[in-house]
Symmetry: C2
Subunit: 177 residues, 2 copies
């Protein structure tokens, strides 16, 4: 099962850091690719590449400037499923077991403030990580954490140049190069 | 058990949106207060107040311009526990059962890029939401989701003016005023 994250509505000046956090969350929580809709933002790409270069994940895919409706349709045509995270959708607790049992590639769509109605229509599932306003970063993290049952937080990248040695106080890392 | 979130290292120009997402995540995932260290940022406060005004939570506390070391020491002196979320800490899976069984007020500390060493020393627990770099927003959301065993995503604010009616497609809300 391949999981990609599609980020809609990115405004380069305002959202650079939020979008970077979405992409880093995608990588750290077990997705294998991040797709930025409509715009190219070299700052976001550079930040993600820098993390992959140091902490591993050189095969983590990053695409930018993608037309989202075509991308979603193509994903579905190839047999994949599209999940849109929105506080207006059905509660994650009511869907997660169904979603975990589906063995298909998943495209997780997260928006900024306004998501066009067509996205709600095209998504196979509109999933709410609770029905309160919070953050697309939180929503993505909790969704992937539930989807992968927490196993993703133990994943080790074989091409990491450094990795953390868990410690009670301070910072310890091992260098692998 | 009272849970507050303390945000360190906020740079108003760069971090306004990330810090707002941290505060909204704190509110939506069951914390009862948000504390911004060192600076006052009216933009962040306004965004959080606007959400509380519409979606409920008028008693959600927001403090700004707080000196973090004094605040942490005071929290501990009053019998509370301080948990610092950092990728360098011990894995959440190895600590969460202990933390769930402690019936004390919890201060969850999240930083920006650089957190001073004193914070690692003062924290009772340095907890890693996995050992990969991602986002303080993700880390906070997953930590609170684990701490409250997902129950927080069903919480309803009694003073909400509107609330969501979960739906398969589109957006439905009820107005309570």
């Amino acid at each position: 099962m391949k999981v990609f994250v599609l980020r809609l509505g990115h405004r380069p000046l305002r959202d650079k850091r939020i979008t970077t956090h979405v992409a880093l969350t995608a990588r750290a929580f077990g997705a294998s690719g991040f797709v930025l809709a409509e715009v190219h933002d070299e700052g976001v790409v550079r930040s993600v590449r820098k993390v992959c270069n140091t902490w591993g994940g050189s095969n983590f895919k990053v695409l930018t400037g993608v037309e989202p409706v075509s991308y979603i349709n193509e994903w579905k045509n190839e047999g994949g499923l599209v999940i849109h995270l929105t506080m207006y959708g059905l509660h994650v607790d009511d869907l997660i077991n169904t979603l975990k049992s589906i063995n298909k590639d998943l495209l997780i769509v997260v928006g900024a403030e306004k998501v066009p109605p067509v996205i709600y229509e095209l998504a196979n599932y509109n999933v709410a990580i609770g029905h309160q306003p919070h953050s697309e970063v939180s929503a993505l993290a909790v969704f992937l954490d539930r989807l992968f049952s927490g196993r993703e937080l133990h994943f080790i990248y074989s091409d990491a140049k450094i990795s953390v040695v868990p410690t009670e106080k301070g910072k310890k890392v091992i260098r692998h190069d």
